[in-house]
């Protein structure tokens, strides 16, 4: 795999391979020395045109834990402020011969543009309303760990909230369904994109059947993407769609990509309940992003390796 641009590019076996590598990095993260020399001497560029805490910090730490050299660039305080185009910025950074560029931008397809204009491996860390594949991978990882499952076969997942503006929703519908889950997206009709069913999910405009869900995945109300009035008022949204202790059942687990608008899409009590995996998701973010960088930047073959018997490969027993 050269780039991670969209979940749509991934087979189930790709997802399983990355998550199994992430399992091994969890072991590394538990050691006293949390660093491995895998990407020593290689350069990772973090290029963030949008605000981000967990995605940028976890990619930074992931690169460092793999011993890569890291350059972090934010749009504010860089030449981007001065009006440099994405393509020109990438051309400039390419002079450092980076092995990987991690990009977050408000424009759909930004990561594809970068992938086509440089030789580095490109990771899409969020491109507008389109996709956020590393988030989807870490969510599958978190769920598998919490539920002790290898696959998500037959699991019922509800994704609730502002699906229209959510790149997380798009990537997660693709990833959850690829791993065998049944996904329902739910929200006010104004915040559900037309023909979202073509992604392979069901649609509901109310929470009446939320009890069917094994997993409730709440999305953030994206005030910064709300140019028009998509909901009559936040109070009405809360009344109809907030996940609170009245709606969340004890057997269900709760996820949220963060940052949470407390009291809007989630009530404070469910955030702190043991059912909430929100903190686990952040911890998973680090090891899954290490696994992503490792997967993209380790090009290896099995032949001749170690002069012994070949290692078993995923999907092809030795």
């Amino acid at each position: 795999m050269k780039h991670l641009l969209t979940i749509a590019d991934l087979e189930r076996s790709d997802i399983e391979r990355i998550l199994s590598t992430a399992d091994s990095f969890s072991e590394v993260a538990g050691r006293d020395i949390k660093k491995v020399p895998t990407l020593r001497g290689r350069t990772v560029v973090n290029l963030f045109y949008e605000s981000s805490t967990r995605t940028s910090s976890s990619f930074e730490l992931a690169a460092k834990r793999l011993s890569a050299d890291l350059i972090s660039i934010r749009s504010t305080g860089s030449a981007v402020d001065k009006g440099e185009s994405l393509r020109d910025t990438v051309a400039t950074l390419s002079a450092y011969d980076p092995a990987a560029i991690v990009i977050r931008a408000p424009w759909v397809g930004a990561a594809d543009i970068v992938a086509r204009s440089c030789t580095a491996s490109v990771v899409n860390a969020g491109d507008g309303k389109h996709e956020h594949p590393s988030q989807a991978l870490l969510d599958v990882f978190t769920l598998r760990r919490r539920l002790g499952l290898e696959s998500l076969d037959g699991l019922n997942v509800w994704i609730v909230g502002d699906v229209l503006h959510s790149r997380v929703a798009r990537s997660n519908v693709l990833a959850f369904t690829r791993m065998g889950a049944r996904v329902t997206v739910c929200g006010p009709p104004t915040l559900i994109p037309r023909e979202v069913e073509t992604l392979g999910c069901d649609v509901s405009y109310d929470l009446d059947r939320l009890g069917e869900a094994d997993v409730v995945y709440a999305l953030r109300m994206q005030n910064e993407r709300m140019d028009d009035a998509f909901v009559p008022s936040l109070r009405e949204y809360v009344a109809c769609y907030q996940i609170n202790s009245r709606r969340l059942q004890p057997r269900q687990v709760l996820m949220h990509p963060g940052p949470v608008n407390r009291g809007v899409e989630l009530s404070a009590d469910v955030m702190e309940s043991p059912q909430a995996l929100i903190v686990d998701q952040v911890a998973s973010g680090l090891v899954v992003r290490m696994a992503i960088l490792y997967d993209l930047l380790s090009a290896r073959d099995q032949s001749g390796e170690r002069g012994g018997t070949p290692e078993p490969t995923v999907g092809q027993p030795a």
């Binding site: 091994s24 491995v36 290689r42 290896r300 002069g307 078993p312």
Partner: protein
């Protein structure tokens, strides 16, 4: 074209001998075994049982996966990706004589990576290397302390170790590849 060089009984006898050598060479030491994934880990488990019987005590057992410590992460051709296993060394290495266990010793690069991996867990007082087969062609100054069998090979040959835990049967065979490979990389 392949020929068997060690069968099931040979492998069993060889491991018994290595277990004795480890105990004899380290009479007063605290011994621990760390196997290199995948087959080295199974060998280490067998040696653990044998040594525990000899010393009538517990011998800590760990395993390391060297994927994250390879020296060729960047240069290999993209192809099928080997599964990365978890390492597990859940005992302190300090004041231990650690015997690293692998199936085949070839270029020495795996052993080098395993040594580096092990040192991320602590500082053993002594580190030794046990291998089932030494097939020569070293590219690094690595020397095994315990060798099951010295097996002169050409680079165009391949040594296949099969262990019951992984493959369903015990065997070491030499397999002649059609054309010489460009050179070992691991």
């Amino acid at each position: 074209m392949s020929r068997t060089v060690l069968d099931r009984d040979d492998i069993r006898r060889t491991l018994v001998r290595i277990a004795h050598e480890i105990v004899e060479r380290n009479p007063d030491e605290r011994i621990a075994l760390v196997g290199v994934h995948t087959r080295g880990a199974f060998m280490a488990r067998r040696l653990q049982a044998l040594i525990e019987e000899l010393v009538r005590g517990e011998v800590p057992l760990g395993e390391v996966d060297i994927s994250f410590y390879r020296d060729d992460v960047a240069v290999r051709e993209p192809a099928s990706q080997p599964v990365v296993h978890s390492s597990r060394v859940d005992f302190p290495l300090e004041d231990m004589t650690v015997v690293l266990v692998d199936d085949v010793l070839y270029t020495g690069r795996t052993a080098r990576a395993a040594i580096e991996a092990l040192f991320d867990y602590g500082r053993p007082s002594r580190l030794q290397l046990a291998v089932l087969v030494d097939r020569g062609h070293r590219e690094l100054p690595i020397r095994p302390d315990y060798v099951g069998k010295n097996l002169p090979t050409s680079r165009s040959e391949r040594v296949n170790v099969r262990l019951e835990e992984q493959d369903g049967f015990d065997e070491v065979e030499i397999h002649e590849l059609g054309t010489p490979v460009g050179g070992p990389t691991a």
